[in-house]
Symmetry: C2
Amino acid sequence: LTDIEEISYNSYMPTNEMKIMYKVWLDCDGKAFGEGPDRLLQRVEACGSLHKAAAEMKMSYRKAWLMLRAMERRLGFPLLVRKVGGVSGGGSRLTPEAFDLMKRYEAFRRELDGVLHEIYTKHFG
Amino acid sequence: LTDIEEISYNSYMPTNEMKIMYKVWLDCDGKAFGEGPDRLLQRVEACGSLHKAAAEMKMSYRKAWLMLRAMERRLGFPLLVRKVGGVSGGGSRLTPEAFDLMKRYEAFRRELDGVLHEIYTKHFG
């Protein structure tokens, strides 16, 4: 290293702490389920409508609908069914398969999260 | 579900097996190191040149260089130094800090990979 290079590198002080980040998803010729869809479905469950859930996540209804349809095709089962009619004029609800998938994915994520940070500390701590 | 919906969903048979996929990276106000940079540096080590390494990975030299510079800034140390002159006309070599980081990241990845698949099988197997 020349002196100039050393001076330049010495100014490379990171301002924030280093952390480990990850994304994990089910895949079957493309994304079949992950963090984003899980959050979207949680909101559908809470508000009973894909329209409202998508809006809360600042996604277009079309994008949310296409994403869920693609995932249903890859998973091999439906995630949402439409509630037809009634006083509230319809909406969407989760299928039992969607609830089961979310439960498994969330438990998987929780366990992975703890273990990942342990392994990170072992190698980088 | 109506009969029509059931028929439509029954045709949603996944053709390939479901698998778990993930990405994991060091982050400090942006990506500081991960799988792609690790592979790029492995190739620089093998061929002694960022130009050749980028070409082998079908990246532009400019993109590879900018990516590594951004990571050096976030990490707080240099990853590459230029070999100046000589018969071969220069090239790049890895810094000791880069070797150390790669060793840690690769060991971290190997351990995580095994554990992740165990946890996946536990929740989805």
